[in-house]
């Protein structure tokens, strides 16, 4: 196994080898039972060899140097030793860790966690075994630490025969001298390359932070909008796929996209701080302009409408109306323009009130009853009809008068019409008054007659009743007497009785 420059090679060979299986088979010369890569096998072999060597070394007394074996021999030996059964649980642990590491690396690109676990396990193992590793590595991540260790272990594989101690020393004291410094840089570089490769394993859409805006949101849109959005997304997907598989187009790997996004963020962050105020202002400026435009439009519309209405309406005083409209418009204009200043809007209100006052001077409303009932209850004096007749006749006379006749008549007719319209009864027609007087008279007469009649009938009735009463009383008295007589007579109607003593027979004859 030739020793290659460590700077150009990462620990596990190129991770790309591992990921793309088709290449894996070509490169690894000795594909083991599980298809391990060369580097994996190297590591595992080394560990076993180291262990076994150490043991053998410990077994052998004093012998530090070993005869240089050929690589093939060593490999064979290690291969043999690999098959050997694990004699201690610690070795098993290590092997397991390594195997888990390799399998995980093969299985999924995100091997950091497993690396961590394995590294920790190795660390523990190493600590337990008593090997004095410097705690200086503890500051770096577990993965790095483990990686470092494995790297050195790999070095040992190559330099085992010649420089065992030296390696040990270097392991014990890696930070000493320029060697350590150079190694650190290269180490870091190696690490970065490793991580880059890991990142490239991840497809960009899962790794890069996705803005919410780019996400298609279909829920709040209408049917048509949804259709178009879906179509767009479908087109985008197709395009992206074509670009990805196009060999001529350079596909941006995840790392490149990540760098792009980082740059963008930097810019945004830097610019945000400076230009935040400016953007706000510009935005508000735009809005203000838009607002003004719409207000102007509204004003124009309002003016047009008012003109139309005024033209259509029949006006009593066009000048007045024009003035009114202007004032009202001005008031409204002022209101609209100066929403912030309330003082001018008061002016507009005052104007409006003025207009209302002016207008109300010409307005008449329905009848309104004000005041209390007692105040309203005063009645007019009702003149008797004769008196009214007198008045009416007088009026008539006056009307006929040639001098002031028509004036009086007109005045009177208007007055009468107005009061009649208001509900007040006006008696100015002597004819009707006469009629009504007549009617009243007749009514009165009729009533008088009726009364008389009633009185007469009452009297009659009274008399009749009295008569009947007295008759009845007399009748009763007579009846009573007769009854008594009858009773007396009855006594003498006994059988065999010839009758009352009437007298001598010839007495009556004699008298007659």
């Amino acid at each position: 196994m030739s020793r290659e420059g460590t700077s150009s090679r990462s620990i596990f060979g190129s991770t790309s080898e591992r990921i793309r299986p088709q290449q894996q088979c070509n490169r690894s010369s000795e594909v083991g039972r599980r298809g391990w890569t060369q580097s994996e096998m190297e590591v595992s072999r080394f560990v076993w060899v180291w262990r076994s060597d150490r043991e053998s070394f410990n077994r052998r007394t004093g012998k530090t140097k070993r005869p240089k074996k050929s690589e093939a021999q060593t490999e064979r030996a290690s291969a043999q030793t690999v098959k050997g059964p694990p004699s201690s649980p610690r070795r098993l642990h290590l092997r397991l860790h390594l195997s888990s590491l390799s399998s995980s690396l093969r299985a999924d690109p995100f091997a950091c966690a497993s690396i961590d676990r394995s590294a920790r396990g190795l660390q523990a193992f190493v600590a337990v075994s008593g090997t004095n590793f410097d705690g200086g590595y503890g500051s770096s991540s577990n993965g790095l630490f483990w990686i470092n260790e494995l790297q050195f272990l790999c070095f040992d594989i190559h330099d085992r025969t010649s420089e065992m101690k030296k390696q040990k020393e270097s392991v014990i004291d890696p930070t000493s001298g320029s060697d350590g410094g150079l190694d650190l840089k290269s180490v870091i570089h190696q690490h970065s390359l490793f991580f880059d490769k890991l990142i490239e394993l991840i497809p960009a859409k899962f790794y890069l932070p996705n803005d919410d805006k780019e996400r298609p949101w279909f829920h709040g849109l209408s049917k048509a909008q949804k259709e178009s959005a879906k179509k767009e997304s479908r087109e985008n997907i197709k395009k992206a796929r074509r670009d990805r598989l196009d060999p001529q187009k350079s596909s941006a790997t995840t790392v490149d996209l990540l760098m792009q996004s980082l740059e963008k963020e930097k810019e945004d962050y830097g610019s945000d701080r400076e230009d935040a105020v400016d953007t706000k202002l510009t935005v508000s400026g735009k809005e203000g302009k838009e607002r003004k435009v719409t207000y102007e439009e509204l004003q124009q519309r309002l003016r047009n409408k008012i003109e139309q209405l005024r033209a259509a309406r029949i006006t009593t005083n066009p000048d007045k109306i024009k003035r009114k409209t202007e004032e009202v418009e001005q008031g409204k204009k002022r209101k609209r323009d100066t929403e912030v200043k309330p003082s001018t809007s008061d002016g507009g209100d005052r104007k409006v009130n003025k207009d209302i006052e002016e207008a109300s001077k010409e307005l008449a409303f329905s009848q309104v009853k004000l005041g209390n009932k007692e105040e309203r209850a005063k009645k007019r004096k009702k003149l008797s009809k004769e008196k009214e007749l007198e008045r009416a006749r007088k009026l008539k006379e006056v009307k006929k008068d040639p001098v002031k006749g028509e004036v009086v008549s007109k005045k009177h007719s208007w007055k009468a019409a107005t009061s009649r319209a208001a509900g007040i009864k006006v008696h100015d027609d002597p004819k009707l008054l006469k009629q009504s007087i007549q009617k009243e008279k007749k009514r009165h007469q009729k009533n008088a007659e009726k009364w008389k009649e009633r009185a007469g009938t009452q009297q009659k009735g009274k008399a009749e009743k009295q008569q009947k009463r007295s008759e009845n009383i007399a009748e009763r008295a007579r009846e009573k007497k007769q009854r008594k007589i009858a009773k007396r007579e009855k006594k003498l109607l006994r059988p065999g009785f010839e009758g009352r003593k009437v007298g001598f027979i010839n007495e009556s004859l004699a008298s007659a």
């Binding site: 209302i356 409303f365 329905s366 009848q367 007719s413 019409a417 319209a421 027609d429």
Partner: protein, 347 residues
């Protein structure tokens, strides 16, 4: 002794109901003016519709289903009007020239004769509107009346104002309720053309300062459609343009004296919105007579008898009256030339 046999017959005692005279308002104690709307002569279809519209306008103090027969005279109406307490007659008639509307006060009040130059029926007005409005108790209360342009001091205009003011019952400021003022009749006099515009509106009060959506939601209690919104705050604060009519009526806002309905509160300002219902007429005052379609003419549009007789058609049916009318008119016109109007009345 049977305990449960209460064979005592309970005599039905009729409760003594004191019948109030029909025309007295039980609130104010004053007389309520009532009206009859009828026609003299045969009217064509649209005018009959107009008659119905006028009847609806005069509700509730009119006879909505007044049935008139051919042989009914004015006298018959007068005779019926007395006991029922009807104070006004609105008489429609049609001649070749134009339809006429007479507004008269019974029993011997003045008669104003208007010529109807143009008219629109209530159904036409409703059809012309996007959202015609007729709440169910719109005609439960009598309308308010506003007369504009009549204040020029001329006597016939004064008479017209008084006449119309007394057709509708008066408002008692102490006891009136805001909810009862739902309609308004508007009469506008144009000095140049001497035409009177007759309009009939329904009054609606709406609170201002509240967006349309929230106002409708509170009024109707209907769950709004929030489909296209992302948040309830969008519904509440959406700045929509107000309706065009809102801009016109910044002057028509009032602070109510009391709450009206669910939405209008006394503390906040409300806007008064008028929506036209009912017939629209353009009237021209032709003649003012002293009596009920009789009597001396105290005002005439064209002066000395140059005007057409409006009652030509009824001459055949109502001979006496019309002859009298015409004679009197003729005489009146003659008399007017001599400036004495009272002769025709006498005897």
């Amino acid at each position: 002794m049977a305990r449960f046999q209460n064979k005592k017959k309970k005599v039905f005692v009729k409760p003594i109901v004191q019948k109030k005279p029909g025309n007295v308002d039980h609130v104010t104690g004053d007389k309520i003016p009532k009206s009859f709307v009828f026609s003299r002569g045969k009217l064509p279809g649209p005018l009959r519709q107009l008659q119905m519209d006028l009847r609806k306008l005069m509700l509730p103090f009119t006879a909505l289903n007044l049935k008139e027969k051919k042989r009914n005279n004015l006298k018959d109406f007068l005779n019926v009007a007395g006991p029922m307490g009807v104070t006004h007659f609105l008489i429609l008639s049609k001649t070749d020239a134009a339809p006429y509307l007479k507004v008269a006060r019974t029993p011997q009040g003045p008669t104003l004769t208007f010529k109807i130059n143009e008219y629109s029926l209530a159904s036409d007005v409703a059809q012309s509107q996007l959202r015609p409005r007729c709440p169910k108790d719109l005609f439960k209360n009598s309308p308010l009346i506003v007369l504009s342009g009549f204040g020029t001091g001329e006597q016939h205009l004064k008479l017209t104002t008084i006449m119309f003011q007394n057709i509708f019952p008066a408002i008692d400021v102490n006891t009136v309720k805001l909810s009862s003022c739902q309609r308004i009749v508007l009469l506008n006099y144009n000095k140049e053309t001497k035409l009177v515009d007759f309009r009939h509106y329904s009054i609606r009060l709406q609170p201002i300062g509240v967006s349309r959506r929230i106002r409708k939601f509170v009024q109707n209690h209907q769950v709004p459609d929030l489909r296209n919104l992302q948040d309830v705050s969008d519904f509440v604060t959406k700045a929509g343009y107000g309706s065009e009519s809102e801009a016109d009526e910044e002057a028509a806002t009032v602070a109510l004296a009391s709450d009206l309905g669910r939405v209008n509160k006394a503390s906040s300002k409300s806007a008064v919105r008028l929506q036209e219902i009912g017939p629209r007429m353009t009237l021209q005052l032709m003649k003012v007579e002293e009596g009920l379609c009789t009597g001396g003419v105290i005002f005439s549009e064209y002066g000395y008898g140059a005007e057409k007789k409006p009652d030509k058609q009824e001459a055949t049916r109502e001979d006496e009256e019309n002859d009298q009318d015409e004679d009197e008119d003729a005489r009146e016109d003659d008399d007017e030339m001599e400036e004495d109007t009272e002769d025709g009345e006498e005897d």
